[in-house]
């Protein structure tokens, strides 16, 4: 199969095609039965991961594997991979690539985390396919490929996966594109409902999609400088809660999440407001294993809403000033009336 076709099948099927391909490859080049079953199980969850594992356990031996440790007796006689091919130095294990991608996505502001592996990982498999094709041609077995022709179940997987892919792209692309946009220092970022705004203190902040850090109903999520600095804001109707209750709940939650080392709270009226009380609370917590974190939580109560801005940094020495600057920049915007116009 041409590598480009494999790539297309993999993306269009939302990765579901890859376990099929990897299974066939494993069958073609030696197979450990238990790994096949595991791959099928995993394949329904994260197809690229399943494919990578399947390949890893059952694919062609690595460069450092002696020829006499090749797959079992069940290896077909028309195995296009010669011992020489098995010794090819130009193969990158897909699992390794997958792990790299997972690591990148974990620390990256990019959301839609699974989209990156979906688009990038099949490249590794396509590369493997091109290697197999080249070896097959070299072995003089042009009709033999590591992958069987498309069967009906292949088409079913491709259709379902394709549908999932379309939905995912439709949902994730706007946020994904937004994630790629830089926020300039001193830029003003408004909440989703345009109820408040923050001034970003440096160019190290990115806006991320709701649910990336906090809950799906968050108003605003930002990632900041360093490895673990972020801000999440929530809005709650005043009819359901009040300032004291929100603060008490957050305090309970944070005190339960780690050993509290310090807690300080101040309250004032928001400057320029109609006596909107604002609480700013500092939490210093010990999460164990030498890990400490610093929260600065701002809570404001307007006539109709309670706004909570939770900021966190795991490196207070380096980033606490920036976090405080973000919190102090909090400013309310006039509520919009039902027509969407700002109330005077």
């Amino acid at each position: 199969m041409p590598p480009w076709r494999l790539y297309g099948y993999a993306v269009a099927s939302f990765g579901l095609y890859l376990p099929f391909w990897a299974y066939r490859l494993a069958r073609a080049h030696g197979c450990r039965k238990w790994s096949v079953k595991a791959a099928w199980a995993l394949g329904s969850l994260v197809p690229p991961v399943a494919a990578a594992l399947l390949y890893e356990f059952n694919g062609p031996p690595r460069d450092d594997t002696p020829s006499d440790e090749a797959p079992s007796d069940e290896a077909p006689s028309d195995d296009p991979l010669t011992p020489a091919a098995r010794d090819s130095p130009r193969r990158a294990p897909p699992a390794l690539l997958l792990l790299l991608l997972l690591a990148v996505c974990s620390f990256s502001p990019l959301s839609g985390f699974y989209l990156a592996p979906l688009f990038l990982l099949p490249i590794a498999f396509a590369w493997v396919q091109s290697t197999i094709n080249r070896l097959a041609r070299a072995s003089g077995l042009p009709g033999k490929t590591a992958v069987a022709p498309m069967r009906w179940w292949n088409w079913a997987a491709a259709s379902i996966g394709g549908l999932l892919l379309v939905v995912a792209l439709w949902y994730e692309t706007p946020g994904f594109l937004r994630q790629l946009r830089k926020i300039e220092a001193d830029a003003v970022v408004a909440s989703d409902s345009d109820r408040f705004e923050l001034t970003v203190p440096s160019q190290h902040w990115r806006r991320v999609e709701a649910g990336t850090i906090g809950d799906d109903d968050s108003e605003l999520e930002l990632t900041g400088p360093g490895a673990e600095t972020w801000a999440v804001a929530y809005l709650r109707p005043r009819s359901e809660t009040d300032l004291d209750n929100v603060i008490a709940d957050r305090k309970s939650m944070l005190f339960a999440s780690g050993k509290p080392l310090d807690y300080r709270e101040t309250r004032r009226f928001l400057a320029g407001s109609d006596f909107v009380p604002v609480s700013t609370a500092d939490y210093e917590l010990d999460f164990g294993l030498g890990t400490e974190g610093f929260y600065v939580v701002l809570t404001a109560e307007t006539e109709d809403q309670v706004i909570e801005l939770i900021t966190y940094t795991a490196e207070p020495a380096a980033h606490l000033d920036e976090v405080r600057g973000l919190v102090q920049s909090f400013a309310l915007k006039p509520p919009k009336d039902e027509s969407g116009e700002e109330e005077p």
């Binding site: 509290p260 310090d262 807690y263 300080r264 101040t266 309250r267 004032r268 009226f269 006596f275 009380p277």
Partner: protein, 654 residues
């Protein structure tokens, strides 16, 4: 012999009878006379006393109980004699009107006035007129505790009144202003809290007696005619309904004033002359002054001693007969009697102040007025009180003294006097002003010490201290109660805030000396408590909330005169030895144009101390600020719950 005795007896009896007949119905009131006239003789047309059928229906539909169809005044100025004929015609619309307003009243000062009852009649619904016996008028003295005057109310209870009837009363008051030491003036109030269909004023005078008159705009139509005649009239006057939000309902009442021409300066001069005459007879003062001022080194100390003497050691009794209503008694008499009213005590104070070298002056006060601009013309009638003020070199410029208040500390006035209209009786620059309140009038300190044992009774020792003007208010209230009533009041006062479940041991200090603060104390046990599992403590600042609510306003339309307050709450918590405070609650810095509320926490040896201070300086809160003012107080108080967390008790070793 027997015939002579009998004859003598008969003569005596006849003479007595004649005397009785000649004494008339008001023999005890030589100023009250019956001088019967028909309406026609008085030049009053019966038709003027009615109201049209349509208007009557309108008034009935608006549920008015009665209407004054005519309030007429005919004034004749003859030098220092002023004759005023007053005509009141009242048409009754309901039984309620008859019940509550079927008596018509005239007010007189016996020392100045002669009252001539000229006509009283009713016209029944069917149009018949019946004359009333003027001799049935009742004379009632205007009585209040410790105030003795020669002012009377002459009341005519009208007979045979039913809805649809009209009562008419005509009387003439001849005021002998030559007996009165101040420039004469009359204040007429055309609008009433009930409908007035017609107001008429006719004033005449001879050329050399021309009075002056002033009126609130749009109240009456006045026109001066040649040959010394002024006529004013108004029809269907709106019912007077002073705004309940108004700081002074009197200021809300429009009026017409007529008087002899004079200025505020003239009035002040006349008043000063009266006081000077009183001070000129100061026998016995020297000894009192020497005793009072012995050892006093500073002006402040002298002022304090003089204030306490005149306020505390001269009790309040007012003998206001004749010109004594405005002229103070000689200082010697006040010292001898050891009683006097405001003007007597002020004269005494001024005399003592002069001996002490203090620059003191008298000040007239209109206790029911707040706006100097509402005094549209000079007149003594506005003022009902006299105080003294002393010029000082301090930043406040002057210190005023209320000599009739034995409860308020020196240097402070009762809260009710701040903001009232005053007239300095000085030689220059005399014009109405207000008695300005200092930045802080109410000083309240609440100190609560809470003992929270690990196991045992949770107790609170509470002290609530009032200083300054507030101390005077509280001291006056508590001194008026006997000890049992006082204890009951203090217990109920505590329970009103803390709940009815508690039985505090209450006490009070500072009632004896009027310059001291007044402190309410209480000790309360809140029951057994076990704190082993307590991880945090939270409590509402109940007393801060309670006292702050005194200063919220219900006004929505009119300005609110805020008398400044400083409320400080210091709450401490003493924990048992095994518990320590871990984290503290929120520091507060709540600022506004109206004042500020601040709080901070302090760790102390046995626990924690929370100090909260609310400061609201004296100011006028304008209508556009009222909602914001209340909102500031409400939202600030919402942040004042006390909170702190406690350490976890380590598990005990086996």
């Amino acid at each position: 012999m027997k015939r002579r005795v009998a004859s003598l007896l008969l003569t005596l009896l006849a003479g007595a009878g004649v005397s009785l007949a000649q004494r008339g119905p008001f023999a005890d009131h030589s100023w009250l006379h019956v001088d019967r006239h028909d309406l026609a003789e008085l030049g009053i047309a019966a038709a003027e006393l009615t109201v049209g059928e349509e208007r009557r229906r309108e008034l009935a539909a608006e549920e008015h109980p009665f209407v004054d169809t005519l309030r007429g005044y005919s004034i004749r100025v003859e030098g220092r004699k002023v004759r005023m004929r007053k005509t009141i015609a009242r048409h009754f619309l309901t039984e309620e009107g008859v019940r509550e307003h079927g008596n018509l009243t005239l007010h007189v000062r016996a020392a100045l006035d002669d009252l001539y009852l000229q006509h009283a009649s009713i016209t029944t619904p069917d149009g018949r007129r019946r004359r009333l016996d003027l001799a049935r008028a009742q004379v009632v003295s205007d009585v209040s505790s410790n105030v003795f005057t020669d002012q009377f109310n002459v009341v005519l209870p009208f007979e045979g009144l039913v809805p649809g009837a009209t009562a008419v009363l005509v009387a003439e008051v001849v005021r002998h202003e030559d007996r009165w030491p101040l420039p004469w003036s009359l204040i007429l109030v055309p609008r009433r809290p009930w409908p007035v269909a017609k107001f008429e004023l006719e004033m005449t005078w001879s050329e050399e007696d021309e009075p002056v008159w002033f009126s609130d705009p749009d109240l009456v139509d006045c026109g001066r005619e040649p040959q010394g005649v002024l006529r004013c009239a108004a029809r269907d006057l709106p019912v007077l309904a002073p705004d309940p939000e108004a700081a002074s309902s009197t200021d809300e009442i429009p009026y017409l004033i007529v008087s002899e021409p004079h200025s505020w300066q003239d009035l002040a001069r006349s008043e000063r002359q009266l006081i000077a005459r009183s001070v000129s007879d100061a026998r016995g003062l020297a000894a009192v002054a020497d005793r009072l001022l012995a050892g006093a080194e500073t002006d402040a100390e002298k002022l304090q001693r003089i204030t306490r003497f005149t306020s505390d050691e001269i009790r309040y009794v007012s003998l206001s007969h004749g010109t004594s209503a405005v002229a103070p008694a000689p200082v010697s008499r006040t010292l001898e009697r050891r009683y006097g009213d405001c003007k007597d005590k002020v004269s005494l104070f001024l005399a003592l102040a002069e001996r002490a070298g203090l620059d003191a002056f008298p000040v007239l006060v209109a206790t029911d007025r707040r706006d100097p601009a509402r005094l549209i013309a000079p007149a003594w009638n506005y003022f009902d009180h006299l105080i003294a003020c002393v010029r000082t070199g301090g930043p406040e410029g002057e210190v005023c003294v209320e000599t009739t208040d034995p409860h308020t500390p020196s240097g402070h006035l009762p809260p009710s006097l701040y903001g009232t209209v005053a007239l300095d009786l000085t030689e220059t620059g005399v014009r109405p002003r207000t008695l300005e309140a200092p930045p802080i009038v109410w000083q309240i300190e609440v100190e609560a010490h809470n003992t929270i044992p690990c196991a045992g009774e949770f107790t609170e020792d509470l002290r609530r201290q009032f200083s300054g003007s507030g101390a005077g208010w509280l001291r006056s209230l508590l001194r008026s109660l006997n000890p049992e009533e006082r204890d009951r009041w203090m217990s109920e006062d505590y329970r009103e805030v803390m709940g009815q479940d508690w039985a505090p041991e209450v006490g009070v200090t500072g009632l004896d000396r009027s310059d001291d603060s007044v402190t309410l104390t209480s000790t309360t046990a809140f029951g057994e408590t076990r704190t082993e599992e307590m991880t945090e403590y939270t409590e509402s600042e109940s007393w801060l909330r309670y006292y702050t609510n005194w200063f919220q306003t219900q006004n929505e339309r009119l300005p609110y005169a805020l008398h400044g307050a400083r409320i400080r709450s210091l709450t401490s918590y003493e924990l048992c030895a095994e518990r320590t405070v871990r984290f503290l609650g929120a520091e507060l810095e709540l600022l506004s144009p109206f004042g500020e509320l601040r709080r901070n926490y302090r760790r102390i040896a046995a626990g924690v101390e929370v100090e909260t201070i609310l400061e609201l300086p004296t100011r006028t809160v304008e209508p556009g600020e009222l909602a914001a003012f209340n909102r500031f107080l409400s939202r600030a108080l919402d942040q004042t719950d006390i909170w702190f967390s406690l350490n976890e008790i380590p598990e005990s070793q086996p």
